[in-house]
Symmetry: C2
Subunit: 588 residues, 2 copies
Amino acid sequence: MLGYRSPLSDIRFNLEVFDYQRVVNEIEDFEDFDLDMSMELLSEYARFCETELAPLNQKGDQIGLKFNAEDASVTTPPGFKEAYDAFVGNGYSSLSHPAEFDGGGGPATLAIAATEILIATNKSFSMCPGLTNGLIDALAAHGTDELKARFMPKFVSGEWAGTMCLTEPQCGTDLGLMTTRAVPHGDHYKLTGNKIWITFGEHDITENIVHLVLARMPDAPAGIRGISVFLVPKFLDDGTRNGVTCGGLEHKMGIHASPTCVINLDGAEGWLVGTPHKGMRTMFVMMNAARLNVGIEGLALSDAAYQAALAFAKDRKQSRSLNPSRNDRDDKADNILVHPDVRRMLLNVKSTNEALRGLVAWISVNYDLMHHHPDEAVREEAGDLVALLTPVIKSYGSERGFQNVSEALQVTGGAGYTTDWPIEQYLRDVRIAMVYEGTNHIQALDLVGRKLPMKNGRLLQGFAAKLTGLIQECGEIEALAPFAAALGREAGRLTKVTMELSSRAMQDREVVGAVASNYLNEFALVTLGYVWLRQLRHLNDHEDSPTKRSKFQTGRYFFEMVLPEARHFAILASVGKECMMDIEVDLL
Amino acid sequence: MLGYRSPLSDIRFNLEVFDYQRVVNEIEDFEDFDLDMSMELLSEYARFCETELAPLNQKGDQIGLKFNAEDASVTTPPGFKEAYDAFVGNGYSSLSHPAEFDGGGGPATLAIAATEILIATNKSFSMCPGLTNGLIDALAAHGTDELKARFMPKFVSGEWAGTMCLTEPQCGTDLGLMTTRAVPHGDHYKLTGNKIWITFGEHDITENIVHLVLARMPDAPAGIRGISVFLVPKFLDDGTRNGVTCGGLEHKMGIHASPTCVINLDGAEGWLVGTPHKGMRTMFVMMNAARLNVGIEGLALSDAAYQAALAFAKDRKQSRSLNPSRNDRDDKADNILVHPDVRRMLLNVKSTNEALRGLVAWISVNYDLMHHHPDEAVREEAGDLVALLTPVIKSYGSERGFQNVSEALQVTGGAGYTTDWPIEQYLRDVRIAMVYEGTNHIQALDLVGRKLPMKNGRLLQGFAAKLTGLIQECGEIEALAPFAAALGREAGRLTKVTMELSSRAMQDREVVGAVASNYLNEFALVTLGYVWLRQLRHLNDHEDSPTKRSKFQTGRYFFEMVLPEARHFAILASVGKECMMDIEVDLL
């Protein structure tokens, strides 16, 4: 079996389709990062991931983590620390970190493309630098110069790692229930409370760990409007141990090499980031990037699983084709790729992966535009798109990713159920993506309850205009017209469902909860249809090439066999709430 | 958290709906097994499973199996052997085994209902007696009196366990590629070859293990028409070791306490069962029962997961209802069952579980009728139904079971991803059901390619007549008419898709492969709709009761939110093969 190979050419293709060049051309800071240069960086990065991180992935899963209760320490699997040192030493963790702190200074698009490769080779490993990224974003947005000077160089160099401490036993989805306290103490605070589900909350990979902790000050208003954010280092500047300790590890279905910790704060010293009680703003800076990241987890493991399943299928001979012309006369059985159902399973995965990768490129280009473009109107338009599509990629990417990995496993039969193949680990590792960084239903509520009504519906209007424009344009191009027509039907249905939903939601907000998850899936499939049409339009004038043929054939499969599910989700989204809410709870 | 509780009352309800009484009344052998008596047996059986087997389930998963290469022995987790001895000692493994060999002599319906409970409490454990059942069925159908006398008492008492040895490295789905050889040797045969994926192929639970091995005699025709079946015991009658050894264990995602063995045959002595070269007949006796069993695996773990998710949901408070009238004014958050999406997830699981349980009851009652009813016409009609619905329950039961366990996990959030809850194990354990005993696509091909055309379409016609009759009848009952109408629409669509499919398949058999999997899912949902309508019709004249209200409310959910997917599968089944088969393989 061939190992995972980074999808560099498909990444490049999508950066072309979604106009990465604009980031380079229109944002001065990024003028050195043209497509060729960026792909060169990515290619070197990919080689490292494939050769250094991928080999640690199954070992990390099998050996897992060790918690030593005596000193509350956590030992990561052999090789992880060395790989991390090389990873940060090569600057791979800081591709897009601020140049002023010695980061690579590249566009987020570059770092986000790299993330897919990192996750695909070793998801557990990826979570350590991934969390530090979040802290850098939060500090950059809301930290004082003093805090930045103290923490940024260590984060950017990778010498220190970060964590996000939100959840408490009684408080997960509902952060308003938080009870961790932060009491003022001179120029800083003392924090006390118990946090759970803290990824890389304790480990032996870096010399220091800095927790970004959500907590309440004594005078805080109730609910989420009274939450502040603090940086709480494991070791203080004088080298003494701060009052923050790991109380144990969770035993999980997957991501066995990623420590999920109980973190106890006992008068731990912490430094406020941003404004008192306005911590949710800082949190959302991290959270939005993290949510995009989780969507990419679905894509990354789905593609890794696809590659394994395809390698299996290319090698395996079993049964005869029902079409005698496909029979391999030199052997007693045909290669299983003659069987339509094997192709169906592979194409379900491939056609959604390639759309998700395009969606990631589209969002990440806009992520750079929203943060750095000189023109405010461009920044706003890009920001609208990112805000609208972040819950979509998080939820659909993770849900489809899980389905796709399972579909890839099915291609390999019993083999894929064993550790002889990597797919069973991917399935276990990817499942958590539907849960963390806000469950998928929370994403759906974010889409329907916040993003649709936001700014009087401007986010949706901007998206709809792009969709309509593309459908019209492609409807007049012969090779694209059937796809444009299919997408047009689903886009029209989506508009109708959206209007019905908003009028029903005005009368009864509970309806939003009942239909949001199915609505998000409908929305996501239409979005993936848009991405496919962008990809095909891009190639339509190109000369014949394997890429062009592959994209048209795979895209056709998407429009015929995947997009129709949008209609099914529309039907479910139209059912309403009664069949759920009229049932007596005691009869469940 | 409450542990799993056997669904005894729902089993009883379904036995009433699907006329178990007829088995008792019309088959003389079963006259002692009226519903009360059967439920009493089941209730005692359930208590044993809940108290003795369930506590071993997670331990078995975590401790797993040990293979000792020196003597090729396999050690099962602590407690498994003792539990097995008590299980067979109580007669629980032989509820329906032939009375002449000291079995319980009960109907298969009773044993099949018991199976759901056994699997739900400990799936790995269940596979050991499950396989022995298969050997008993095969021997009863095709064994000589001599073979029966030699093996049956040991199988029925549980002193010896059985295995099925089909797969070889080059030969899984395609049994025609089999190479294991059986050479005549006096009154028996000597077998040589390598078998893989052999469940309970080696273990320390019973004093002897008997393998039912598929192999070719030297003069055998090529392909599956040259396969014979042999009984190959681990120990021969004189106590010497036969030439059959375990070459190692697979390392799997789940069912960690069920040894999946490589089995090497090296001149092993074996005894022919049935006619030379006609082994597939014997195999299918076992296989059909095994396939029903695998469908039940999906149901069993889905229900166990549902119970855990519901227990979690009843306890967990998080966020506020979007409907202020549901707010719990005594607490800071509402119980999560106020959230429509939590109910949606739970009802997706519950409404399909309860239909699957009805389907199992319907098939199993017919299983008894087909084997034992004095009237040949009844036997034939029942046999048609069992043959038609076996691939449906195997495939849809396992696929839906996997989806449902994942949905239940989603209800519990991060908690369910940890070993603090049993759901993550259920998810890992249930995934294999989509693969073994014929992958789900093989089931779909069996349905479309074999069962539909069989006997000039008689199987389908019989089923369609039942469906039409019920829809008509219920269409005239006010409380049932909306459900009958919904089912009528889907049944009509299914008829149309079936007719189109058979006319297309006549021109191009490859189309069958392209559409079979989606067709089976459409067929399954219509079948589950039939089951729901039977259940509701049964209750319609009853007085108001919690059961009646629960069934009507859950059934309503099914018709509004689950059945519509039949239409989606119909759309996919109508797409045909081109978008799969026109793609260039090198571009995948």
